[in-house]
């Protein structure tokens, strides 16, 4: 009795012991296609281009230029202010008292012309 259920792979042809309901494979493709959800293709999605979408890149570019202009202007302004303040520091003069000046003039042997010349001539 045991011999009856020995499975000999060399002698036995593979046979599929399963069946399917009648007409199953004939309708299978249609049934599967009907069960598929609707799908929007990323390749075929139609985008409606509005006027705003059309001018948007130009506006962004203009805004970028304005931004750059103000950045440059601000940078130049800061630099000018820095120079001005440096100049202000260097041009700061010592304030002498009137007495000092009077004594200086008395001892300097200068007339008005010589004094003017001393003050305005470059290099003094």
């Amino acid at each position: 009795m045991k011999k009856e259920i020995i499975y000999n792979f060399d002698e036995r042809e593979p046979r599929r012991p399963f069946t399917v309901p009648e007409g199953y494979f004939e309708n299978l493709t249609q049934n599967i296609m009907d069960a598929l959800p609707q799908q929007e293709s990323i390749y075929s999605t139609t985008i409606t281009v509005t006027p705003w979408m059309r001018i948007r890149p130009y506006l962004y570019a203009a805004a970028a230029f304005v931004g750059i202009f103000f950045c440059i202007k601000a940078a130049v302004g800061i630099s000018t202010r820095n120079n001005a303040s440096e100049m202000a520091q260097t041009e700061e003069t010592t304030i002498y008292s009137d007495e000092y000046i009077d004594s200086f003039l008395e001892t300097a042997m200068m007339n008005d012309y010589t004094l003017y010349y001393t003050l305005v001539e470059p290099g003094n």
């Binding site: 499975y7 012991p17 199953y24 493709t29």
Partner: protein, 187 residues
Amino acid sequence: MAMMAYDERRILEMLHEDDISRRRAFESIVNNFSEQLYWQIRHMVLSHDDANDILQNTFIKAWTNLDSFMGYSRISTWLYRIAINETLTFLNRQKATIPIETDEEGELSIADRLESDPYFDGDLTERQLQEAIATLPDKQRMVFNMKYFNEMKYEEISEALGTSIGALKASYHIAVKKIEEYFNNID
């Protein structure tokens, strides 16, 4: 509309075109692969209803993930992988929900199921063979079914499972030995 002939190159092009072309291309894929995928799944889960559900899910997954398929592998390989994942997920879920039984009770339950299944027309030996196959680990069972019942070449199985041909041959021969041993041990 008549079904277009299966031309993988043209189908890959159509999958990147408008919605109508895309659907037509997918319909051609379904028509070409649904039957062989069905049998692959059916041999694993045994029940027609379960196999049909898993097959539907396989194609729904493929359809909804079409954009991630870039054509690096063959369409058949891609579909087999989805089907295998869906089948193994189903079997794991089934194992988790069905109460743990002893081996003998498990074997009897498979025999009972097949005997009362209107879509099983095998004799006693074929029922015993299904019981023997059911004792194999999932992947070994899959390799055995692909080779023995679906008569796939080792190259095709290798592409579908991502396993080397050498490993597949070894796996198949081990499965055959285990099945023969199973029959030898039947009282």
